[in-house]
Point group: C2
DNA sequence: CGCGTCGTTGAAGCCGCTCAATAGATGTGG
DNA sequence: CCACATCTATTGAGCGGCTTCAACGACGCG
C-alpha cells in the first residue's frame, strides 16, 4: 500500500454497476449476476493521452473497447496513404467491432484528448455471450447500430453539399453531447478542422469558410474549438437541405 | 402430388448442405447436426422478380435474408427523399443485419433481376446462436464484414475521384463474380447506369462518359449492360489512384 | 411505327478545391 | 518577458472536375 503517485490500474476494482455510463455501454440491460460475468473479462488500463493509439491498423484483434471518457477518432487508410476518418467516438460507445471478421484491426483508433476506456477480451466475451443471451443480443445490437451510423454517413456524403454536411455535423454532435448529459448549446470540439473536413469529405478551407459564414449569419459563435449553437432550428433546416431551392443536387429520386 | 404449374415453395425440402452456395452463406463452417438446427428456421419463399422488394424501409424486422441467386440493391432514403444505394448484393451474401438494433428496417432491398433467397427468422436464429457457438461467431463475422465493406466504400467516396471510383467498381465487381464461379472478364451488369452513379456518388452522365473513355482506351468494351474487362491491370492501377500525378487530390496525409 | 425508357455526348456553369498569404495561438529558449 | 519558430485556422483569388442542362441516339414494346 504505497503512496506512489503512479496509480496501479491493475489493482483498481472494476464494476460496471458503478460506472456512470453504465446505461449507454456494453452491459446495458444485463442482470446483476450477468454483469459479474462481464466484469471478469475487463482488462485494466491506463488512460490514453492525446494522439495515443487505442489500436492500430494491422494489429491482431484481441479486445473490444468501451470508451469511458474523452473522445477517439477511427480512421482507415489505403495502400496509397489515403486516409479517411470513419467516425468520432464518445463515452459509452464501443470500438473495434469491425475487426471481428479478419481477426485483425483494419482501422486505427486515436485519442483526440485524454481518454479512458475498458477493454474486453473478445474471445472471453464471445464465450459469455453463449451463456448470457442478453449480452449476445447487445453485441448484435451494437454492431447493427454501427452499421446504421455508417449508412447515414454514406447517405450524407453522397447526397448533401458542404453547407448541409457541416450543419448536420454540428447538430449531430450537439445531440450526442446532450445525450451524454453535456450542454447541447456549448460544444467543445476535440477534433481539429482538418479532422472535421476529412470526416465530411471536404477540405479544411471549406470547413473554415462555412463555419465563418454560419457565424456571420448568427447560427453559431465560434472561438477556436469552442462552438456555441445559437440557432439550432435554422441549422437543422439547413442540415436537412430544405433551404436550397437553387443549387440543390437532385440525386436520383424515384 | 398434382402436376400444377405453380410450385408450392412451402413443400420444398430445404437443405443448406445441398445448396451450391453453402460455403459462402450463413452456414459456413457449421457441423452437420448444427446445420439441421439452422434449416428448421428457414422460411420458404417464392423468388423475387425485377423491382420486387425483399424488404422496405419502415417494415418490422423479422427475418435475415441470404441471397441464393440474382442480385439485390440496398438503399437508404432520408426525409427529403434523397436516396443513396449502400450496396449491391450477390449470391451467398446476407441482407437485413442493420435492422437488428431498431427492430425495424431502415433500408429497402430491391431485386435487380429475378432472385431467390432464404429467409431466417431472426428470433429463432438468435436462439440457435445460444446453442451453436459456430453460428454465433458466423453472425458476428458477417456483421463485421458488412462494416468493413461500408468502411471501404466511405474511404473510396471520400478520397477517390470519379475515374478511380469507376475503375474500383469494375474491378471489385469482377473479383466478386470470379469468386462466385463466373467469368472475371465478361460481366453482365444487373444494375442501371443510374444505380451505379448513385452508388459511387456521381451522376449518370459522368459514369457514362468514363465508361466511354475506358472503352476508347481499350480497358473495357461496353455493350449496354455487358462489360468485358480487357485490361484489368491498368484498371487496377487507375483504381488505386497511382496514375494521377496531376489533379490528384492529396487528402489529409499525415 | 410511335412512344417511352435508358444511355450517350456536347456545352456551359458552379461548387468546392488548390494555391497563397496572413493572422492567431502555442511553445521554446535566451 | 519577449523574440522567434511552428502549427492551426482564416480569408482571398483563381481554377478545374463534376454537375447541370440539353439534344440526340439506341433499344424494347405496345
Amino acid at each position: 500500500m504505497s503512496r506512489s503517485q503512479v496509480i496501479d490500474f491493475s489493482k483498481i476494482k472494476i464494476s460496471c454497476g458503478d460506472c456512470n455510463i453504465h446505461e449507454l455501454c456494453l452491459p446495458r440491460g444485463l442482470e446483476l449476476q450477468d454483469l459479474e460475468q462481464l466484469e471478469k473479462v475487463i482488462k485494466r488500463t491506463h488512460p490514453l493521452q492525446t494522439g495515443d493509439y487505442l489500436f492500430r491498423a494491422g494489429q491482431e484483434f484481441q479486445y473490444i473497447y468501451a470508451l469511458r471518457s474523452g473522445s477517439i477518432k477511427l480512421n482507415l487508410m489505403d495502400e496509397q496513404g489515403n486516409d479517411q476518418i470513419l467516425g468520432f467516438y464518445f463515452p459509452g460507445e464501443i470500438l473495434g467491432l469491425d475487426a471481428i471478421d479478419k481477426k485483425q484491426h483494419l482501422c486505427s483508433a486515436v485519442a483526440l484528448e485524454t481518454s479512458s476506456y475498458c477493454a474486453f477480451s473478445f474471445s472471453n466475451l464471445s464465450e459469455i455471450c453463449q451463456l448470457v443471451p442478453g449480452l449476445q443480443n447487445q453485441m448484435l445490437r451494437l454492431m447493427s447500430r454501427e452499421l446504421t451510423h455508417e449508412n447515414e454517413l454514406l447517405l450524407m456524403i453522397g447526397t448533401k453539399n458542404a453547407e448541409e454536411r457541416m450543419a448536420t455535423f454540428l447538430i449531430t454532435l450537439s445531440s450526442r453531447f446532450h445525450q451524454l448529459g453535456y450542454s447541447a448549446k456549448e460544444i467543445k470540439l476535440s477534433m481539429s478542422r482538418q479532422e472535421i473536413a476529412n470526416y465530411l469529405g471536404l477540405t479544411i478551407e471549406t470547413v473554415s469558410r462555412i463555419m465563418s459564414r454560419f457565424q456571420r449569419e448568427q447560427l453559431i459563435s465560434v472561438n477556436r474549438k469552442q462552438v456555441n449553437i445559437k440557432n439550432p432550428d435554422v441549422l437543422k433546416h439547413i442540415s436537412s437541405g430544405s433551404n436550397a431551392g437553387s443549387g440543390k443536387v437532385q440525386w436520383y429520386k424515384q
